[in-house]
Amino acid sequence: MSAIQQYKKHNRQAFLMVLPSFAGLLIFSFYTIGYVIVLSFTKKIGGETVFVGIENYIRLFSRDPNYWTAVVNTFIISAKLLVELPVALILAVLLNSKMKSANVFRVVIFMPYILSPVIIALIFSFLFASYEGIVNNILMMLNISESQINWFGTRWHSLSVIMIASVWQCVGINMVFFLTALQSIPNELYESAAIDGANSQQQFFRITLPILKTMTRVITLLAIIGTLKSADLALVLTNGAPGGKSENMMTFVFKYFFSQGARIPQMGYAATAGSVSALIIGVITVVYLVTTKEGNEL
């Protein structure tokens, strides 16, 4: 068999092996993305889907302040990462030491992540209930608040509760990511540093943090994307209360896609909002990757 024939045979085998995954990607990613984009240029009129050009996009960009409030809310909610990631790192460092019951703590902290977001939302809606809610009762018991706080009565209160619930839900998985990265750092580095007289603080800032940089970049990226496209938690926890003020990008899309309250589904428009939201997330991802590229070369 000639070299060319052998090359072709190998190529054929490789192609056959890649085919199932590629077919899956084609059907479940490219086709659905394409379908949503096509849908975003349509509108349902009397049961018929009609092509309306860029009408939905004009509406979104020029006549729908609610969507842009939802975008701003999404960014505000993302600010929770400023707390979530450092806390996850601190927990990972603590649980990476040879402390007793470390495994128990790992499991307990990771557990919220395996709970359904709907359950978490229900738990937090009970915790922050305005009537006999646990949080309100504790605040009043400690004399921090004189009366029951209406946690879903203003935009900022609602967004705060979403952020708190989201941190509780996601800190565990980020801790596990950091823990994995920490455990991959060779012990010899710390032993050598110790011989050279470095204390544990110096070891953390001079060895641990620089080595974690690459992993931190990935963890942060995943956390940003996860936060920007989160819908279920906010939907069940506040459902946009009060009066749609705590809506985020994905709950906005959800409510136009499916019938919700007095809203009749507008799938074409939902697809438009979904496509623009995907674009926003994509741009943020690229900007993040570009701006953090330099520090990644360690």
Partner: protein, 452 residues
């Protein structure tokens, strides 16, 4: 392509339908005519299966008719659509879509060609409700059963704060006054009214728009003018604004869902609540009430009083399939009349399965042995309203618009204005696009029925 897919689906689904239908798709056997009745009503399954058996053994045997009664699941709409495409549709069925969709799809036919004896005209209540049971002047079904709205109140709490438990609120002003008394005298532990806003229930349909008809004879759509007019929601919204100002609303209405509100009512922490007839089951089984629960007609604004019959939410129960052969027509009509007979309707009421639209049924029947069901079933002062057009509105829907007025973002008048503007713009667009015909909804000589 669509046709090929439909045929493929039919080929694969027909055997399944055959299995579930017990292989009894034949229209006529030697000595009897089989009438196929398809339903998705599972709540009255035992009762109806027993009645059908009785019919087949007695009345049916005498007349040479056998009912084949089939109960389907959530995919009922697909099942009957496919069946009709293949010419195997049922003779009588429930319709799982709007009357206009059913007519345009060609799955139903009017009662006219079957009714030679003025059966439809002789009903003791209005059966030709535009876009509900009647379409373009033809009656397609009888609105036999309905959902009703009432106000439930805590008699024990009324008594404890010095209110007369036998004098429930009659007006919005009464609600505000009683709620303040309840809240003030309960030391912040119990509250006048619970309104769940979390999923829009505070304004959306059941607790909101469906309840305002008693004072206005309509809700957000002005049938005579053929356009939206949300002004009937103004007094209702002003009542909520006042309740909020008085702090008599159950705390955290914005984050309150209906289940929590009902659970708090059942526990005795709430004085009054708007409720729908299905809440009877909730207060009996899901959150059994620990209080003496009173039930009264939904209050109205003082300035209008109970001027009109308030809304009864209903739809046609049984519909005639479009594929009935001439030789079966007589038998099908017999079964159709039997299904709509007072006997069957009364039986369903007495078993607490359905609320009859005909007020005389509940009056003459034995009261069902389910707490609260009889009170929700007295429909003397309720009436099925013509349908309101569904439009795809841009921006906030009316529930959000009116909630924002309650939150103080703008006045109630402005909320009415905003809602009118948004919904009429959407209506105009729908008309221009040909998505709806305003003549289907506009009733120039619309006169709401006066309350008794």
């Amino acid at each position: 392509m669509k046709k090929i897919m439909c045929i493929t689906l039919i080929v694969f689904l027909l055997p399944v339908l055959g299995i579930f239908a017990g292989g009894s798709q034949e229209g006529q056997s030697d000595d009897k005519t089989v009438v196929n009745v398809w339903t998705r009503n599972r709540h009255d399954k035992d009762l109806m299966v027993r009645q059908v058996e009785k019919f087949n053994q007695n009345e049916g045997k005498e007349k040479g008719i056998e009912i084949d009664y089939q109960i389907y699941g959530d995919d009922f709409i697909d099942i009957y659509t496919i069946a009709f495409e293949s010419g195997n549709g049922p003779d009588i069925m429930n319709l799982e879509e709007s009357i206009s969709a059913g007519v345009n799809k060609g799955v139903i036919q009017p009662l006219t060609s079957f009714d030679n004896e003025g059966w439809v005209e002789n009903f003791p209540f209005d059966v030709d409700i535009n876009n509900v049971t009647a379409y373009q002047g033809e009656v397609y079904s009888i609105p036999q059963f309905a959902f009703t709205m009432r106000m439930v109140y805590n008699k024990d709490l009324f008594e404890a704060v010095g209110l007369d438990p036998e004098k429930p609120p009659r007006t919005y002003e009464d609600i505000v006054e009683y709620a303040k008394v309840i809240t003030d005298k309960s030391g912040g532990k119990k509250f006048g009214v619970a309104l769940p806003f979390k999923w829009g229930e505070g304004f959306w349909t059941w607790a909101g728009t469906y309840t305002v008809g008693g004072g206005f004879g309509r809700r957000e759509f002005d049938y005579a003018e053929g356009k939206f007019d949300f002004s009937p929601l103004k007094p209702y919204t002003e009542m909520i604004v006042q309740l909020k100002k008085d702090k008599s609303l159950f705390p955290g209405a914005e984050g309150l869902d209906n289940d929590t509100a009902r659970a708090q009512f059942a526990e005795g922490n709430v004085g009054m609540m708007f409720a729908v007839s299905w809440d009877v089951a909730v207060f009996n089984d899901q959150f059994p009430v620990k209080i003496d629960m009173g039930i009264t007609e939904v209050p109205v604004p003082e300035e209008t009083g109970f001027k009109y019959k308030s809304e009864l939410v209903s739809q046609g129960e049984w519909w005639l399939g479009s594929d009935i052969p001439d030789e079966k027509k007589k038998a099908v009509w017999e079964v159709y009349k039997w299904l709509n007979s007072d006997g069957i309707v009364t039986m369903k009421y007495e078993a607490a399965k359905n609320i009859p639209v005909n007020p005389t049924i509940a009056k003459n029947a034995k009261a069902p042995d389910v707490m609260g069901f009889a009170e929700f079933s007295d429909v003397t002062n309720n009436k099925v309203y013509p349908v309101v057009p569904s439009v795809r509105v841009e921006g906030d829907t009316f529930d959000v618009i009116f909630y924002n007025a309650v939150a103080g973002e703008y006045s109630v008048d402005e909320a009415v204005e905003r809602a009118n503007k948004a919904y009429n713009a959407a209506l105009e667009q729908a008309i221009n696009e040909g998505a709806l015909e305003i003549s289907d909804y506009r009733i120039q000589d619309y006169k709401p029925t006066l309350a008794e």
